[in-house]
Assembly symmetry: C2
């Protein structure tokens, strides 16, 4: 019954995104919940019809759980969360609380922070999303100044996703936000995160060592 | 037992966003699923601590379901979807399929289309998200050329959310994408959508007539 869960990621990525590729979210969730999983790969350099059939935007991760197939790290996380109270509380109020903050990470924070980051790294002269970014992160700073965890009074899959969105280098260093910084530190000090991150970095370093990519 | 579900929206909005404010998603889901609901309002012009306590980014909608409270239209939709097979299939494979496309609407389409739209309407000289937008919409066009509904071979909450993201004026008219256009038409011709949209427009028009806003 072990290793029914397969997390698919790239066989190799450049150094920049190592430690941030989104298969990390799924590894982390499995580590938190004590779920057995294995990791398999698709080529970074060739994203053909086989890849598109599994991930229609040519991204990773995607996941197998027995006969079930899923893409989108958010969907995979919600699916995994149903397997463990550690990630998703059973109590109806705590569950609603977790769900709303989980979606907020995707659709209120990342919907601004990822495109803002994209404009920064592609060298936009005047980043037109900066004011919006500022406003969203200030709201988060207020919220995180009032509580230790986002939902249900303890760590949930909502913290996993929100901290992963907020820990991105340029986002993390955007302005002086002590409550957010302390939150990101608290969440990323969890052993499950550290193992997932170390495993992902080791995975891509092993690909360097094997020299299996034409680059 | 009727009207346990309360959808919260603004008391008034300017003409531009009418028919697009996200309470529409919740009205639409309730109409599809045959769930009784009522609509209540918070002031558009004053978004104080009471509003922030329910929606930490000062937005709408948010929702009550008996004792449960939720914000984020995506979270409210997933919560409502659990009440009806019309929105979320029971079969495990169909459910995974619906979930992945539901999250794709939020985190692969809206994460690009909403900031792209924001830069357009705020008059960015050179919209640095256009190439990314093009790529995401082309992938969607390929997918929608191969199927009538996104998941489970029939309408689900994934179509509700994806069509709502794709029907936004500037997004809908971005390039020539016949399969997407036909999909948006097909989904928005549903009686539940038309009722939800008409009800929302009537709600804001009534506020005009009542002249209850200082503007």
């Amino acid at each position: 019954m072990s290793e029914l869960i397969t997390i698919w990621t790239m066989d190799w990525v450049p150094e920049g995104p190592r430690g941030f590729v989104r298969d990390l979210r799924l590894r982390w969730a499995c580590e938190e919940a004590g779920l057995a999983y294995c990791v398999r790969t698709v080529p970074f350099n060739e994203r053909g019809p086989g890849h598109l059939a599994r991930q229609p935007f040519a991204q990773v991760p995607f996941m197998d759980d027995g006969e079930l197939e899923l893409f989108e790290s958010g969907a995979c996380l919600l699916h995994l969360a149903e397997k463990s109270d550690v990630l998703m509380p059973c109590d109806a109020k705590d569950r609603a609380d977790t769900l709303q903050w989980f979606i907020a990470a995707l659709n209120s924070i990342e919907m601004v922070s990822v495109p803002w980051w994209f404009l920064e790294v592609t060298g936009a002269k005047d980043n037109g999303l900066t004011g919006w970014m500022e406003s969203r992160l200030e709201h988060m700073e207020r919220v995180l100044g009032e509580r230790e965890w986002l939902a249900a009074g303890r760590f949930t899959v909502a913290d996993l996703l929100m901290a992963d969105a907020l820990r991105v280098g340029k986002v993390r260093s955007f302005g002086d936000r002590p409550a957010t910084e302390s939150y990101v530190t608290r969440v990323t000090e969890r052993p499950a995160f550290r193992k997932a991150q170390a495993d992902q970095i080791a995975h891509f370093e092993a690909a360097d060592a094997a020299g299996s990519q034409a680059r």
